[in-house]
Amino acid sequence: MGVVVLGHYPEYIELAEQLRASCFNISVEVWSKMSHEEQWEANRKFLDDAISRGDEILLATPLERLHIGSWYERELRYLASRGFRPDAGARRLVLVS
């Protein structure tokens, strides 16, 4: 079990580096050659792997600064569909059974 950080750039990278946690990452060379569907498939697999491991999921960007239509919003919607909800203060997601 580890720690995964989600959010907008650059906060999620900075927090992940600070905590030595994981974040979704692909180099520009690979990312730019993927279709939108392939990009989301890779992103979703990263989230599924984190769920399988039981990782702690931290939010580096507060919902006040969530950009509508962003990858970050899509990640949150996916995790909500898998039963995750924000804890008090909404800086991490917890699985609600």
Partner: protein
């Protein structure tokens, strides 16, 4: 993080020059999706363009060490909800035009209505939490 050619500067360079913005910081991160951050200063506020996994977002701040707010929140306060909602799709598709057409109103809002902008962000966060998770955020 390495600095190489900026897609944001390529796209918005003319807008920045035309409106007297000074580029304070440019960072291009090719190890992470080609993400970018470009921070620029105008006489009365700062603007930050962020390229996050290929999507570009715009945020506004009153100055150094001040909080950043999404452009849409600043515009909503600057223009009023009704006018902003009427032009929402256009402004979100072309944020530099939204800024350029409303520079004076944005400047006034950033300088004089920061509390209102921050409150709008908190309200929006609750709406987002309700929409995505089916319940509002509970604070401490």
């Amino acid at each position: 993080m390495q600095t190489t050619e900026s897609d944001i500067i390529s796209r918005f360079g003319l807008f920045l020059d035309r409106n007297g913005f000074t580029v304070l910081r440019t960072a291009v991160d090719n190890e992470h999706f080609g993400n970018e951050v470009v921070i620029c200063s105008a006489p009365c506020f700062r603007v930050k363009f962020v390229k996050d996994r290929g999507q570009i977002f715009t945020e506004i701040s009153r100055g150094a060490r001040e909080p950043w707010y999404p452009l849409e929140d600043v515009l909503k306060v600057a223009l009023g909800s009704q006018e902003f909602e009427a032009r929402y799709a256009y402004y979100m598709a072309d944020p530099t035009s939204a800024l350029e057409l409303n520079l004076e109103a944005v400047t006034r809002a950033v300088q004089e209505k920061q509390d209102e902008i921050a409150a709008l962000g908190r309200d929006r966060a609750q709406e987002v939490a309700q929409d995505i998770f089916g319940r509002p955020i509970v604070y401490g």
